[in-house]
């Protein structure tokens, strides 16, 4: 197992364990995420990638271990004290999770009104700007139900940006999208880091995304950070398990439940 720590880490997972009943998902996960980087968490399905990032916003709680964000321990915060953390860490969910009863601009305005205390008019004006940023300005008045998955994902990114977060978590942002829309989402993620200084943590097993925009990558295997490094480290890795994941070969040393 190898790891490469960044000099100015923003987020640290220290020996994190998480189980659901008898099913042990994370078994001593340790990893660091640097400031303003696009950090990918990769691994096979069910390995605990989404579980890992949900700990950062208090949607799941660790069984054992510590999580630090910007020098502060956050794994032991109460629901009430997680509130300020959630203003700084946004999340784009796998299913976009827009509310069908509202238009796109109302969806984006929701956190502006709740988190930032803006009035309805101000919030809607700002939500129009955010939708423009993700190239969805023409659809501000549309209902999410009438849009394609790629459009919904972009609107969900706008809603997350409404909180002006320091970190954005992306849970499989390109899953279910065609290659063109997937690369558009990749470009948006890269722009957030380059233009706005946002740290992005992306859960994915979409290889073009991983090798297209990642600054650093952590590969989770058997509940631990099996390998961490740059794109080049992974491309040049001779580790048979890492190679099997990258090549997508069904035969190899990787243990997959049910096979």
């Amino acid at each position: 197992m190898t790891s490469s720590a960044t000099p100015s880490s923003l987020i640290e997972f220290r020996d994190v364990h998480k189980a659901f009943g008898a099913k042990r998902i994370l078994q001593g996960l340790t990893m660091e995420v640097g400031r303003q980087e696009v950090f990918f968490i990769i691994g096979t399905s069910g390995v605990g990638k989404s579980v890992t990032i949900k700990h950062l916003i208090g949607l799941l709680r660790v069984d054992q271990g510590e999580i630090h964000f910007d020098g502060e321990r956050i794994d032991n915060l109460s629901e009430k004290h997680f509130y300020p953390v959630r203003k700084r860490i946004g999340m784009v969910f796998q299913h976009a999770t827009l509310f069908d009863s509202m238009s796109l601009r109302e969806n984006v305005a929701l956190p502006l009104r709740k988190h930032q205390g803006l009035g309805t008019k101000e919030a809607l004006a700002k939500s129009d700007e955010l939708l423009e940023r993700v190239h969805m300005g023409n659809f501000a008045h549309s209902s999410p139900a009438t849009l394609s998955d790629g459009m919904k994902k972009r609107a969900a990114i706008a809603r997350t940006l409404a909180m002006e977060p320091q970190v954005v978590l992306f849970d499989e942002p390109t899953t279910g999208l065609d290659p063109v829309n997937a690369r558009r989402i990749d470009r948006l993620i890269r722009e957030l880091s380059d233009d706005l200084g946002v740290t992005s943590i992306v859960v994915s097993h979409d290889l073009p995304s991983i090798f297209g925009i990642a600054d650093r990558i952590t590969f989770i295997y058997q509940g631990k950070a099996y390998k961490s490094g740059t794109r080049q480290d992974f491309e040049q890795s001779g580790d048979p398990i890492v190679r099997q994941f990258i090549s997508g070969n069904s035969h190899g040393p990787m243990e997959t439940p049910g096979f």
Binding site: R86, M91, H95, L110, P111
Partner: protein
């Protein structure tokens, strides 16, 4: 399976049930607080009132109409056999309906129609991570989702109960007149109804209207997995709400009898 394993299994179930009870209590308390926080979308209470009230009206009207007719015909035949005096049929029927049947049967029907709907809607939002998205947007799901449904059930549950009494009593009166030739003035007599009956009926209607959205919302928020999880949540909501209605019925009736001696 050894005795030890069985006892362990029972213990684990008891602990899980007590944890679920605690979570239900917390969700109930938060939902009630959400009513006062008013942190739900504008017009949402009115929309939910329409869903709970208007859309349940026909269902409840037909059921209560038939129930009123059947009960009067059955009771009338029994009375004819025993005493032959039908003068108390209408007054006793009204008393029983105000205190017992109208609130309880209306609530049981709301459990199946409204409770299932709440659990399915909230459960779908849970499994598609929309509840998590709400929390990240700074919104408490209980305030945003359950509180408006609670207000809608409280208001429309009471109104539907009154409508149920009127429909059942009217249908009963028509049946008594057409089957037994009973004079409508003898049937439509409210002299047996005491304040106690109205208070107990109102307390029941309000208690049921609190229990149904809280239990159904809780089942929705506990949904796990995909569509199967939503289905389980919906079934649990109907069973849980119906059971709560019957339990509350027993408790309120029992307390009423013990404290007020049945209001006689």
């Amino acid at each position: 399976m050894s005795v030890h394993t069985r006892i362990e299994g029972l213990g684990a179930r008891a602990i899980a049930a007590s944890h679920a009870g605690a979570r239900l209590f917390v969700i109930g308390a938060k939902s009630l607080r959400g009513v006062f926080d008013r942190d739900y979308p504008k017009g949402e209470v009115a929309r939910q009132m329409y869903v709970v009230g208007n859309k349940s009206l026909l269902f409840i009207a037909i059921t209560m109409g038939f129930l009123g007719m059947v009960m009067v015909i059955q009771s009338g035949h029994q009375l004819n056999r025993v005493t032959g005096d039908l003068s108390q049929l209408g007054p006793q029927f009204l008393k029983l309906f105000i205190q017992e049947f109208a609130p309880t049967i209306t609530a049981l029907m709301l459990s199946t129609r409204v409770g299932a709907g709440i659990a399915a809607e909230v459960g779908s939002m849970k499994v598609t991570e929309q509840i998590d998205a709400l929390r990240l947007s700074g919104i408490t799901p209980t305030s945003y989702l359950i509180a408006p449904r609670l207000l809608a059930c409280l208001s429309m549950g009471s109104i539907l109960t009154v409508i149920a009494i009127v429909i059942a009593f009217t249908a009963g009166g028509i049946s008594a007149w057409s089957v037994f030739g009973l004079n409508p003035t003898a049937f439509f007599d409210s002299s047996m109804v005491r304040t106690y009956d109205i208070v107990i009926g109102s307390v029941k209607a309000l208690s049921y209207s609190l229990a149904i959205p809280i239990i159904s919302g809780f089942c929705g928020l506990e949904a796990r997995g995909g569509s199967e999880g939503v289905g389980t949540a919906t079934t649990s909501a109907v069973i849980g709400s119906s059971f709560a209605v019957l339990l509350l019925d027993f408790m309120i009736s029992g307390i009423g009898l013990m404290v007020f001696g049945g209001g006689v």
